[in-house]
């Protein structure tokens, strides 16, 4: 049981390049989330998914796209990277926000992305 994993752990891009971050979870969670973490700002939600085939915008969705083709995977895409997207990206998953009182969000280890 690996929990939530993210690929890659580090990446450096040039402005205008594209890339995809992969998040995988093996806990059979319905909900998955992508956050970005910038210094002094905590974590902010980019996009989330409440189930296979569904996605929704979070707080800071511009410049990103997502897909949830399989329940266990949640992809975050940058079509044309910009220096403002330099950040640490976290994926998280949860069974359901209306689940039992022990439910919570479980986080991956993060991906550090630098856009030059």
């Amino acid at each position: 049981n690996a929990g939530v994993t993210q690929t890659p752990k580090f990446r450096v891009l040039k402005t205008g390049q594209s890339m995809t971050l992969l998040c995988a979870q093996d806990m059979n969670h319905e909900y998955m989330y992508w956050y970005r973490q910038d210094p002094g700002m905590g974590l902010r939600l980019i996009h989330y998914s409440v189930g296979e085939g569904t996605t929704a915008k979070g707080e800071v969705p511009d410049g990103y796209n997502v897909s949830r083709l399989k329940k266990q995977n949640f992809l975050l895409g940058l079509e044309s990277a910009a220096p403002s997207q330099t950040s640490v990206y976290f994926c998280a998953s949860s069974y359901s926000p209306r689940g039992p009182s022990t439910d919570t969000q479980y986080f991956g280890p993060g991906t550090r992305l630098t856009v030059l």
Binding site: G42, L43, L45, V50, A56, E59, P97
Partner: protein, 115 residues
């Protein structure tokens, strides 16, 4: 809109002593959860403690406890017998049940443990 505010960017405490991290929040929802997450230098987000808003009793997990003041919208974290391994960034977070399905985080408090 939901907001979470941590007014202490940095805190420090002597090893074995007690420290309290502050958090205030705002939400229009009546049913919500509150969390404290720890982020050590490894970057991993680790759940420390959670509190259901409908429960009056403050949550406790070993050396970690919260002071939940619902009317004041305050949710502070108390760490007793501080250990060197407690050094980390601590984030307070709010999860509304009826509204958007997301965690809203505070800005974080960096906790330093002095030996």
């Amino acid at each position: 809109a939901q907001t979470v505010t941590q007014s202490q960017p940095e805190m420090s405490v002597q090893e074995a002593e007690t420290v309290t991290l502050s958090c205030t929040y705002d939400t229009s929802e009546s049913d919500y959860y509150l969390f404290w997450y720890k982020q050590p230098p490894s970057r991993q987000m680790i759940l420390v403690i959670r509190q259901e808003a409908y429960k009056q009793q403050n949550a406790t997990e070993n050396r970690f406890s919260v002071n939940f003041q619902k009317a004041a919208k305050s949710f502070s974290l108390k760490i007793s017998d501080s250990q060197l391994g407690d050094a980390a960034m601590y984030f307070c977070a709010l999860w509304g049940i009826q509204g958007a399905q997301k965690l809203v985080f505070g800005q974080g408090t960096r906790l330093t443990i002095n030996p």
